[in-house]
């Protein structure tokens, strides 16, 4: 079973490139959500300030 994970002599090259790719994808998937929430909160804060000043 472990043989198919071995990738012969190139094991470290194959696995590191896949690992890097999926880290970048996961980072981006998390980051776009975080950024959206941040922008929403920023606008909300500003709108609330305006409301108080009115």
């Amino acid at each position: 079973m472990m043989e198919i994970f071995a990738m012969g002599e190139y094991s470290s090259f194959v696995w590191s490139s896949y690992l890097l790719t999926f880290l970048v994808i996961i980072f981006n998937a998390v980051h776009v959500r975080y950024r959206h929430r941040q922008i929403m909160n920023e606008i909300k804060r500003r709108l609330n300030l305006e409301k108080v000043n009115e």
Partner: protein, 250 residues
């Protein structure tokens, strides 16, 4: 058709529609990438020359493909923004830049990891494919830096759109670099006049990965454009109503 496009370019309509599309894109992307990864890593036979190292193709080619696709999307939307002054198109250009930069980085990094065992070097300055792809990474960085240096959004949109359009010259150079100059990098495998030169068992996972990555890219791009549109329209009535719903009086 024109009516629909017009409606689509309206920020509030786009904002709601994109939210509905993103989950579907993500599901299909996840399915294709899962299939491509599993069969690319475990079910396709090793290459007769490269052994298991060729499996890097399943992450390297989609990343490289997206690095160019993102640039083309930016160039087209920058052009539309400059000519017709459609607000949404500048938002798309600005949102695609960081994603394009990430996938360019990924293409360079996985290519480097692939190059070490196959060519005996991580990097070769004399190679036109490698160098032109690196120039594209700097074009993305330049675009992002230029935008952040200009406070006025409309001025930033126009100046950075010109930069992207000038940089388009690099795209055909990247594509044809492996044909015009002798290079360490191998020639085209998929897009060639006599058809793909890769066995179907290796081709299908690759196509799945390319389509899956493209769908994923589209989902990430739409997500970013939504944030960008919200920020750009922060003073408008629809954003106010969306974030601070008017209180119903009894």
């Amino acid at each position: 058709m024109w009516k629909f496009l017009h409606k689509l370019a309206s920020p509030p309509y786009f904002y709601v529609l994109a939210k509905k599309i993103i989950p579907w894109l993500s599901i299909f992307a996840l399915g294709l990438i899962t299939y491509g990864t599993i069969s690319g890593l475990f079910f396709t036979p090793p290459d007769y020359q490269q052994g298991d190292a060729f499996r890097i193709i399943y992450v390297h080619v989609p990343a490289a493909y997206l690095s160019i696709l993102a640039y083309m999307i930016m160039a087209i939307s920058a052009g539309i923004g400059l000519i017709w002054r459609i607000k949404l198109s500048h938002a798309i250009t600005a949102s695609a830049a960081p994603l394009g930069a990430w996938f360019t980085f990924l293409a360079l990094a996985t290519g480097s990891i692939w190059g070490k065992p196959m060519w005996g070097t991580w990097w070769e300055w004399g190679d036109p494919r490698l160098t032109s792809e690196l120039i594209m990474l700097f074009l993305y960085f330049g675009y992002i830096a230029l935008r952040s240096a200009i406070d006025d959004t409309m001025k930033a949109d126009r100046a950075s759109a010109v930069l992207i359009l000038v940089g388009v010259i690099n795209v055909p150079i990247i594509h044809f670099s492996v044909e015009w100059w002798s290079s360490l990098h191998q020639g085209p495998t998929l897009i060639r006049q006599d058809g793909p030169t890769i066995d179907p068992t290796m081709l299908y996972p690759l196509l799945a990965m390319i389509i899956g990555f493209s769908l994923l890219f589209t989902a990430l791009l739409l997500f970013r454009v939504r944030s960008e549109v919200l920020y750009r329209e922060r003073r408008s009535r629809w954003v106010r109503n969306l974030l601070l719903p008017p209180v119903q009086s009894i």
